[in-house]
Amino acid sequence: MFDFQGYGPSIFGGGILTLELALLSLLLAFTLGLLGALGKMSPSPVLRGISSFYTTLIRGVPDLVWMMLLFFGGQILVNTFFDFLYDVSDGEIDIFVPFNEFTAGVLTIGFIFGAYMAETFRGAIMAVDQGQIEAGKAYGMKPMQVFKRILFPQMMRHAIPGIANNWQVLLKTTALVSVIGLTDMVRLATEAAKSTGDPFKFFIPVAIVYLGISAISDVIFKRLTTVYSVGVEKG
């Protein structure tokens, strides 16, 4: 049944790439999400405006459009930037940076899910008792210390269900990078399916891998919920 006609190892490699891509994007999305949430709640109208613009614009346009825009336009953008540097520096700075699909994939997925994460984190921050933050300030902690010691550990409990949700969607979105030339699981399975003429043989195992990753993630997120709920009494 499991005869992959020699495509097995390469599809396995594609699975590793899918995981790497998903995890790196998650890291970027997490960071952008935190920044976006803090921006949305900041007293400065400029920061609030920028963050709202970011989350609205990203969430209003399909992932695939962002991906193609960055993929087809990315090299032009990079070249224009370094041409500009070349011109202003009178040829002192002469760099050619080849545009890499993997970076494009991580950047696009990270930026897209950063917008979703920002909404998750905003809700989570609002769920933390305001008195906690005031108490931190009263102790003379700097804003960074308040964030690290008081806000972050408490907001994570409220954020984890949302993060888990976003992660599951993010994982599935990585399948789209197959169309911008990255050799992830889906791309390799498509190639194998086309050349052998047997789509189910390759797509079903790939689908099972996705289900497996999301099942494992469920377990990890359950653990994390326990970790971040320490000291919370259940009602």
Partner: protein, 233 residues
């Protein structure tokens, strides 16, 4: 700097092509939502059943369709139908040789899975008292479902369902990967014709953005009307 954009958008072919794409995107979205929604109602009722034999298969269906990428589902159905023995000689081939039907099947099943879970949540959130009152009136299961449970469940499901509608509209952009000229497919053609990625994709992004806001506005009106009893006073 804007020369390229002027050249692209002064050509009526560009507008006609984007229009064709817009029509396809709207059709794909509405048809998949219609079929998916019709499938989701019985599936959601089955999913809330206490009988494991009824509940379990629906759970497997929603788990698989929500847990795997839509792209894989589309590829499986799109490439899979060609494998059915003898289909290329039958009249079905006239229908299935176009990418549209496999795509509609994939999208409908996918949105059916998500909608089933949304409706299930709404059905399970029915206040106990309403069901007890219905039973006290002597209503049977079918009558109770039709008159009491489903109408209030559909109302409760509106906010979550509006998200699903937007997701589905965005997801239809995947159709462009199996040769369908939807909005994104049109943008890819324009990109290829003029080699102008920014003009082609930013313009199509703006159309999607307008569609998203349009859907949000429609649902805001529906919510105002249907959920008026829940509005803060």
């Amino acid at each position: 700097m804007f020369d390229a954009a002027i050249k692209i958008f002064s050509n009526s072919y560009t507008w006609a092509h984007y229009w064709e794409g817009l029509v396809t995107t709207v059709q794909l979205t509405l048809l998949s939502l219609l079929v998916g929604g019709l499938l989701a109602v019985p599936l959601a009722i089955m999913r809330t059943s206490k009988n494991k034999l009824i509940n379990w298969p629906v759970w497997v269906f929603t788990y698989v369709f929500r847990g795997t990428p839509l792209l894989i589902q589309l590829y499986m159905i799109y490439y899979g139908v060609t494998l059915i023995e003898g289909i290329q000689e039958s009249f079905w081939w006239e229908i299935f040789k176009h990418a549209l039907y496999p795509t509609l099947i994939a999208f409908s099943l996918n949105t059916a899975a998500y909608t089933t879970e949304i409706f299930r949540g709404a059905i399970e959130a029915t206040p106990r008292g309403e069901i007890e009152a219905a039973k006290a009136y002597g209503m049977g299961w079918g009558l109770r479902m039709r008159r009491i449970i489903l109408p209030s469940a559909f109302r409760r499901a509106i906010p979550a369902y509006s998200n699903e509608v937007i997701f589905m509209m965005h997801a239809t952009s995947i159709a462009s990967l199996v040769t369908i000229i939807d909005l994104l497919g049109a943008a890819r053609d324009i990109y290829a014709k003029y080699y102008a990625p920014f003009e082609a994709f930013i313009f199509v992004g703006l159309i999607y953005l307008c569609l998203t806001f349009g859907i949000l506005a429609i649902f805001k009106r529906i919510e105002k009307k249907m959920l008026a009893h829940l509005a803060p006073r």
